[in-house]
């Protein structure tokens, strides 16, 4: 379980998170939706300690991240995997080395075992014969899948997905969503997905949180959010230009 309580975060004069409260249930998929630039990625980075709140508390499985020492924070991070918006693959390494990197650095597995684990992880995400390619030779969808393979490799208890399907074509989007569902069913991790893919994300997630103006405006099951009467949530889900959210 991840809990954010009264989290405030500003960059200069810009307030991004304004007393945000959310509890992410263990073993379930929670989607975070909301207009662009509302701080969804910032919230995700707070969960894994990449950003520290100006005030408020962040807890992972009952343990505070905000008060943790660097060593303790690293051991909390062992529980996490993270899929970044632009995949964040190491561009000086090929696909194999990218996926093998955490295994080489954090385990004492033999070369053969690492090879087997990496090839099996790549196969799990539907990639074959790409292990020698460099990241700039891959399409956007392939990069995300390599990053997912890397994130899954150490069997994390929690995986954070930052817009896993942004910029991909509809078929690849479906494939990635399917992949998240299947791997979740297989490994049972806690997942937080920041996404703009509406309505597709409702088929993947069990819970949905709407982030608006630095706060969680509404949190509930997929059905509850889909049938929400809140005008902001309704407008966002329907993608209507008319309503309380004024983008232009």
């Amino acid at each position: 379980m991840i809990r954010l309580q009264g989290v405030h975060k500003s960059f200069g004069d810009q307030v991004v998170l304004d007393g945000l409260d959310i509890t992410i249930p263990a073993g379930q998929i929670t989607a975070v939706i909301g207009p662009s630039g509302e701080g969804k990625s910032v919230m995700l980075k707070h969960m894994i300690g990449l950003l520290q709140p100006d005030s408020g508390a962040v807890e992972v499985e009952g343990e505070s991240i905000t008060a943790a020492s660097r060593a303790r924070l690293n051991s909390i991070r062992e529980k996490f995997g993270m899929l970044f918006q632009n995949a964040a693959l190491f561009d000086s390494m090929n696909v194999f080395d990218n996926v093998a990197f955490p295994l080489r650095e954090k385990t004492r597995l033999s070369k053969e075992e690492i090879r087997n684990r990496v090839m099996s992880a790549l196969e799990d995400v539907g990639l074959k014969n790409v292990e020698h390619k460099y990241t700039d030779q891959l399409s956007g969808g392939m990069k995300k899948r390599v990053a997912l393979a890397r994130a899954l490799l150490l069997n994390p208890k929690i995986i954070l997905f930052d817009e896993p399907t942004t910029g991909l074509d509809p078929i690849i989007k479906k494939a990635i969503h399917q992949l998240i569902r299947d791997t979740h069913a297989k490994f049972g991790f806690t997942a937080v997905i920041v996404s703009h893919e509406i309505p597709d994300i409702f088929e993947v997630a069990q819970h949905v949180a709407m982030l608006y103006k630095g706060k969680i405006l509404q949190y509930g099951t997929t059905d509850e959010i889909l049938h929400s009467e809140h005008p902001v949530v309704r407008q966002f889900i329907s993608g209507s230009l008319d309503g309380p959210i004024q983008m232009i």
């Binding site: 980075k45 894994i48 990449l50 690293n74 051991s75 991070r77 062992e78 996490f80 995997g81 993270m82 970044f84 918006q85 632009n86 964040a88 693959l89 190491f90 561009d91 990197f101 955490p102 650095e105 954090k106």
Partner: protein, 256 residues
């Protein structure tokens, strides 16, 4: 008036914060390097990049620096009838001062800027964040190998610079201007002492720390996008070069 005071206050606080961060970065990099120096393969890769790949530019600049010293030295020394001291003048200038400083400036231009760009791109493309989310210390994987490699490579490159420079001076002084070859090397051997040589190496070693420190620091805290990386790279080269010259003055005054 109030606004002016506020402006000065804001700038002073920003400067103090920046200085604190630069200092913290160096201390953190050095302690990480001592505690967990990281994979030797990464250090070797950096040694190749900072050291071996700088050889060509070091040979070129050292050769021409020695040749210019040969020309200028000959012109000055003939006024006093002491052209036999040309070897000494060339060697002392190179070993004590020009070797370490010019080597450091050349490596700053070639490798220091590349270090900043590499780490800056890793920062803006979230590769450093990715390392942190894997509970891996970016200082161990990115900074320590560069720091160790620069500490080793700079004195070695400086030694090469000195030797090539001395032969550049010999080429012009002895072969072109007719200085006695025996005098060129004999006077040099008589005048250059071990203290001159190791003071040059101490300088080179500390310049290596400066190049890796500022190069990594500027990349690590690069701003947003391509413009942020480009600005960080420029600032890195300028700040490193200035620091090298300032530090050279203080070190020279201690080592003299």
């Amino acid at each position: 008036m109030n606004q002016l005071i506020r402006y000065i206050g804001r700038k002073t606080i920003a400067l103090m914060r920046e200085l604190g961060r630069i200092g913290w970065f160096l201390i953190h990099a050095l302690t990480t390097m001592v505690r967990s120096p990281g994979n030797p393969v990464y250090v070797l890769k950096q040694l190749e990049f900072i050291g071996a790949k700088s050889l060509f530019v070091i040979f070129l600049t050292a050769g021409f620096t020695g040749m210019v010293l040969g020309l200028q030295g000959y012109y000055t020394l003939t006024k006093f009838g002491s052209e036999g001291m040309l070897g000494t003048a060339v060697a002392l200038s190179l070993v004590r001062e020009l070797g370490p400083v010019l080597t450091a400036l050349m490596v700053t231009g070639r490798a220091g800027s590349a270090i900043t760009a590499e780490i800056g791109i890793m920062r803006i493309s979230e590769q450093i964040d990715a390392l942190e989310t894997m509970a891996l210390d970016p200082f161990k994987y990115l900074i320590s190998p560069k720091l160790i490699a620069a500490m080793i490579a700079l004195p070695l490159l400086c030694a090469i610079f000195d030797v090539v420079g001395i032969y550049g001076g010999w080429l012009v002084g002895v072969k072109l201007l007719g200085v006695n070859p025996g005098a060129y090397f004999y006077e040099m051997e008589k005048s250059v002492v071990w203290r001159d040589v190791y003071s040059g190496f101490i300088k080179s070693f500390s310049f290596g720390v400066i190049i890796a420190w500022i190069g990594c620091y500027k990349g690590y805290f690069a701003g947003h996008g391509a413009e942020g990386v480009s600005r960080a790279t420029t600032e890195s080269v300028v700040l490193t070069s200035v620091l090298i010259l300032v530090w050279d003055y203080f070190l020279t005054s201690v080592l003299l």
